[in-house]
Every structure is written in C-alpha cells, then in structure tokens.
Amino acid sequence: MFTIFNIIKHQGKQYIPDVTKVTLPAYHPGKPHIENKLCSQNCNDCVQHCPVKAIDNSPLRIDLSKCVFCSDCENICPEKKIQFTPDFKIASNTLENLVVTEGIINSTFFNPDIIRKEIKRCFGRSLKLRLVSNGSCNGCELELNAAGNVNFDMGRYGIEFLASPRHCDGVVITGPLVKNSEQALELTYKAIPQPRIIILVGACAISGGIFADSSALNRSFLDKYKPDLYIPGCPVHPLTFINGILELIK
C-alpha cells in the first residue's frame, strides 16, 4: 500500500498555481505582433500564402477568428514584420477585436463594457457548460478535456463541463457547424435554462476555419443567436480557454 504514496510523491505538485499570471514559452504561437513599418518589397506573400485567408493588407492585419496559427506568414515575410508572441490571452467577446492590426501594441481583445449584466451576476462563481462538437477534428476536445486535468484544473474556478444541458449555463461549440449536426445543436441549446451563454471555441467554430468553403456546413445557428465569447486557436490552448472564461465571468 506504500506504493501509492510513492506514486503520489513522485508525481509532485503539477498544478499551475495561478493560470492568469503564468507565461508560456516563446515557441508557443499566441497573439501575433505586426511591426509598424512599410512593406518595402510590397510582395504580398503573406496575404497570398495564408491557407485560411486570415491576412489582409493596407494596413496589414491578421484576423484571429480565421487564423490556424501555422505561423507560415512569420517565416515567409522577407522583412520579419509578423511575429507570433507567446501571449495566450486572445479570447474576445467581439469579432472586431480579434483582428490584430500593424503597429497597434497592447490592443485589447476583451471589452468588459459590453458583457451582458446577468453573466457576472449569475455565473461569477459557478459556470457549468455543455460541449457540442459540431464537425470538429477532436483537437479542441482534447484541449478542453485537458483544461480540467491536474495541470490546469479549471474546476477550482467553478468552471466545469456537465452531461445534461438542463443543468448547464451555456453551450461551448467546437467545429465548423455542419449540416448533419444542425438539429442536435439547436435542441441542446434550447434545453439549457435561461440566462444562457454561447462560447465558440477554435478557428473552425468562429469562422469555419479551413472548412469555411465546404458544402457540408450550415452555420445558420450563428445568424439566430449571438455568441458571448470567441476563443481562437487551432486547437485552443487550455490557458486561452480558461482565461477567456474568467474574463467573461469574473
């Protein structure tokens, strides 16, 4: 029976003491930074190359609602104008703020002024969520699972995924929203008692991502209901997810 104590001892403390203050190593591609200098070569390579058409020119800007963080643009730019920083706090409650424009340092992603009043009041100390995977590749699901593990432990903030939508406060959607799951998503959302929130996780859910021009999609759900939080990534990092939600509810 002492074996189990040894196992526990050898595992050590693995949890991140404060997920809001931790930093990720430099090789994690998070919020991009676009330097404020003229494109002397005017090559437009980054715009042409981007596999999800997330980059636009004059002024140069990257739309994180589409970005899959392949960071090809960083390598392709002859002037090294684009750089991905390890800043993982990139969740936003508006689509406009997800666009990173050249020269703007410390652009705010989250706008606390437009959060619906009832969200902080009702969910500030406890937020139960129902996941609907909707054409997702299982990458975001793996990371959402990880958000609850011994390292990230989002349960300590009262954030948890539950089985029944009837016991939940909101729906988390991953994947590009496909025709074949349209009905299931609508039913799940309606089964959640009000007030309820919608969180879109990953480039696929926010914009369709690499699947945006597929004929198998049906994104009409998003025309009917407005999401409260957009969490970019491919897949999202657990820290991006947890911090995004904390900004929304705390």
């Binding site: 074996t3 189990i4 040894n6 196992i7 526990i8 050898h10 595992q11 693995q14 190593p25 090789y27 994690h28 591609p29 190359h49 596999p51 999800v52 899959v68 963080f69 392949c70 960071s71 090809d72 390598n75 996941l131 609907v132 995977s133 909707n134 054409g135 997702s136 590749c137 299982n138 990458g139 975001c140 699901e141 793996l142 990371e143 959402l144 593990n149 011994v150 390292n151 995924f161 089985a163 029944s164 994947g175 590009p176 496909v178 025709k179 074949n180 799951s181 299931a184 799940t188 991502g209 690499i210 699947f211 021009d213 597929s214 004929s215 198998a216 999609l217 491919c234 897949p235 990092h237």
Partner: protein
C-alpha cells in the same frame, strides 16, 4: 496468356492510372474473393470516383501482409446503365463498409448486401431524401426487449454519434452505431483547395488526435506523386512524431479508462503524464498535437542535438513515473475485475469484419503496417507487433501499455543514430506526375491509415481518398458490447477510442 488481373504496388509507390487493370464485374468479384481467401490478405481500400460525367471507376486495393505487396485493380461502369450489381459482402463481410460507402455516394445498389445502410450522410450523396432522421434501425418486435438511444450529443467532452441498443433487461442484445454527425466534406475539400499549404492544414484536421500519422500519410502520397525524395532526418522526425503521438494518446486513453471505472489514481496520473509528452511536441514544433511539424517535401523542424536532449529529458521524466503507475494499476484486483472478460471480440469476428490496428492485434491478428508494409524508419528496422489474445477491455488496455513501452524504445533508438540535421524549408507547390495513382499507408495509434490520390492529365489532384482505421473498427465495438451489461458500454467504447470525425470525414 491470361490477362493481368492486378498491378502490384508497394506502400508509398505510384503508377499510371491506365496501368490499373479494369476487369468486368464478374472477374472483379472472382478475383477479390480469390485474393481474400489468403488469410495474409486484407482489403485496405475500395472506393469509386467519377471518370467523366457518366462513367464511374471502382478501385480496390488488397494488401498482402506477408509479401509487402498491394494489389490494385478495378472495374468501371456507366451509372445510368448499371444501377445494380450483386454484393461481395455475403461472401466476404470485411468489404461491407466499402460497399455501403460506394452505394451512398453513387447510388449503385449492391443486391443481397445484408446491411446496406447509409454511412455518413455525405453532403453530395445520391439520394438526398435519405436523412439522418429516417435511419433504418434494426428492430426486434418483442415485449421482453426494450430500446435505449444514446446521443448524438454525449455526456462528456466527446464527438457526436448515435448509439441504439436493444436490451434484454440490463444485457445488450444488439447495438447499432449511427454516425455522420461530424461530416464536413474533407475529401471534396482536398480538390477544392488550391495550394499545398491549404491541403496540409486540411490533412492535419482529418483527425486532430492523429495529426502525425495522417499528415505523414498525406505527405508520403504527395511526395510519391511528385517523385520527391526526402532526407534521412525527415524520415526520422516523421516516424518519431508518429511514435510519440502513439505514446501520448495511449497514455491519455489509459487515463480515460481509469476514469470510466472510477480509479482515481490512474485517471489523474496518466492525464498529468500525457501533458509531459504533448508539451514535448510544443517545444519541438510549437503545437501540442504535432501540427506544423510535417510538411510534404520539407522538414521545417529537423531533429537536432537540442531537440534530442529535450525529448530524452522528457522521456526520462515520463518513463519511470509511467511504469510505476501502470504496474500498480495492472496489479490492482479492482481494476482487473472490471477490465477482464468485458467487451470481448473474438479472433473470428475481428477477421470477418476486417478489423485493423489495435482492435485486430488484441485478437491475436498480426496486422500492423509498420511490419507488413513498412514506411519511414521502419524500412530499416524490423518491427514486431505486440499482440494479445483475449480481445477484451483488458487486452486493449495492456496492449496500450506494451505499445507505449515498445514505442519508447523505438524513439530512443531513432535518437541514438540521429542523421545529419538538415532543415528543408516548406515548399510552395509540388509538381505531380499527371494521370497517376498512389497509395500511402501509415500505422497510426488506432491502426492503419490509408490515403489514395489520383492526378488528372494536367497533374492536379483529381481524387483524394482517406481511410481512417475507425471505418473498420466501429463494427468491432458493436460486437464487443453484445451480452455485456449496458453500464459497461462507456468502458468498452473508451477501450477502442475510435474516431468519429475520421469516419465521418
């Protein structure tokens, strides 16, 4: 001289499309059944693609596992004139899923197919009146029996799929699995996307838990069409990535199995240990699931001394703690009591349905692409598949444990004789040989992944076909739960951990 009945290809080789012999349907069925009588042969792909507006061509790939050969042949028909052919499935059940898929996509009817049901409600299916809501579930009319429906949305962070049980009290008599909720049109998108960068991102998103194996299969297919040779370092880094992915996901799955039997130490420890492994990928290529790492014709993140040291350091931190936990867990009577004799698939069943990968190896079938049709580093190093014979949840758990140990030793060996570092920058495009066919297979952690590509006369992709091992193995789960308590379904399901999106595409 008799007509040549098939062309022989190797894993990752290509041929001209017109070199693939086209047989009449009668010859085709006779030849298929003849090949399939050899227990060393199994069907790795059988699919159709439109040659022009009317004609459809059907390509069948049978792999001979003892000779490392793949026999490719086909038949052709005008869909307007040939709406019906007789099915091979009654004589060779392993082909059932391929015939179902062809039938759904083209409208061709396979007469006498015992289970001709929709596969995934593909958006371009022939009969749009067939929808998910009117799925023809198998029914048994009896007052003693009842039905239980589960899903499509499940109680957990997991992909959607519907499971319909017919139960006798607590015992499951029959399970029917109805998928398609994740269908996002991946195969069609491969043709729609114009740049290599887009197609690569797509390949990485076929199944987000098998990024390394799927992207390597994709890269090998494209390199074979382009006639590109890659360096030894590239070969090492790809194979290493697939093995590291295997270790990581197997460890995560052991955690999930522990969660399902409420064995908290295993659940917590294996989850934490997996983090060490996927963070190794993060250090190596900037993504926890090996995205960005593998690029056709390129080696953007070569293995060098620095990466080698990081991997070895992380493996060291992982291994002793992993072994300690795993040995304690497989020695716990409470764990064994739940795992043993739960969800049994027999060898006979596995052979009939054409199970691959882990599902086959737990039934003592030595089916492993790394040994039978080697690729990458395994061309130099003989691989001996780990097998188990009991076919139950225990077999699927202990097989994972043994494969983790085996893959760790492979990773160490690969790092020992590290080839010279060479960074090959990403290519903008690859020039493909026109009118060619290629087949590329890798052994992902679930089992064999098979990608087939065809180019047109201008050298552009004309058709791209993906097969995830889950296509075969979902049926194994349906058989495994028979005569088990319905409460054991979660643990049976998790022990296979099949892909919904890999099946739905």
């Amino acid at each position: 001289m008799s007509q040549q009945k098939h062309i022989i290809l190797q894993n990752g080789s290509c041929c001209k499309v017109n070199e693939i012999p086209l047989l009449t349907y009668n010859q085709f069925t006779t030849h298929t059944l003849e090949l399939m009588t050899n227990p060393q042969c199994h069907c790795v792909n059988y699919y159709s693609y439109p040659v022009n507006e009317n004609a459809h061509r059907f390509i069948c790939c049978i792999a001979n596992d003892s000779k490392a050969e793949i026999y490719v042949y086909g038949w052709e028909c005008l869909l307007k004139e040939t709406p019906k052919v007789y099915s091979i499935t009654p004589a060779c059940p392993a082909l059932h899923i391929f015939e179902r898929e062809i039938s759904e996509n083209t409208g061709l009817i396979f007469e006498n197919h015992p289970w001709n049901k929709p596969v995934r409600w593909s958006f371009d299916r022939q009969d749009a009146t067939k929808v998910s809501d009117n799925y023809p579930f198998y029914r048994i009319e009896s007052e003693e029996l009842h039905q239980v429906g589960v899903g499509p949305i499940h109680a957990g962070i997991i992909e959607p799929g519907h499971f319909r049980f017919i139960c006798n009290g607590e015992k499951v008599l029959h399970l029917e699995i109805h998928l398609g909720y994740q269908h996002r049109g991946v195969e069609q998108l491969f043709l729609q996307k114009e740049t290599l960068a887009q197609q690569t991102i797509l390949a990485e998103s076929i199944a987000g838990d098998t990024v390394a194996a799927h992207t390597t299969a994709f890269a090998h297919a494209l390199e074979s069409l382009a006639g590109t040779e890659v360096s030894q370092n590239t070969i090492h880094s790809r194979t290493l990535a697939i093995e590291l992915e295997r270790v990581a996901i197997h460890t995560g799955d052991l955690s999930a199995l522990c969660t399902d039997i409420a064995y908290q130490p295993g659940a917590a420890v294996f989850q934490g240990l997996r983090t060490t492994l996927i963070n190794t990928f993060l250090t190596w290529c900037g993504n926890r699931f090996a995205r960005r790492l593998i690029r056709a014709g390129a080696n953007p993140f070569p293995l060098n001394i620095e990466i080698k040291e990081i991997i070895l350091k992380n493996l060291l931190a992982f291994e002793s703690r992993y072994i300690e936990m795993a040995e304690y867990m497989f020695d716990a009577p409470g764990v064994l009591a739940r795992f043993e004799d739960t969800g049994i698939v027999t060898e006979e069943q596995a052979r009939l349905i054409g199970a691959v990968g882990m599902a086959a190896r737990t039934c003592d079938i030595r089916r492993d692409i790394r040994s039978s049709h080697p690729y990458g580093w395994f061309l130099k190093k003989a691989h001996h598949p780990v097998c188990h014979h009991s076919g139950d949840v225990y077999a699927r758990a202990i097989l994972r444990h043994n494969e983790v140990k085996q893959s760790l030793s492979y990773i160490r060996k690969m790092l020992e004789d590290l080839p010279e570092e060479d960074a090959i920058p990403n290519k903008a495009e690859l020039a493909f040989t026109p009118d060619s066919f290629t087949i590329s297979m890798t052994e992902g952690w679930r089992g064999e992944i098979c990608h087939c590509a065809i180019t047109d006369s201008s050298g552009k992709l004309k058709h791209y076909k993906i097969k995830d091992p889950s296509l075969h193995n979902w049926f194994a789960l349906a058989l495994a739960v028979r005569n088990n308590d319905i409460s054991d379904f979660p643990i049976c399901n998790k022990s296979f951990d099949l892909s919904y999106c890999g099946y739905d595409l």
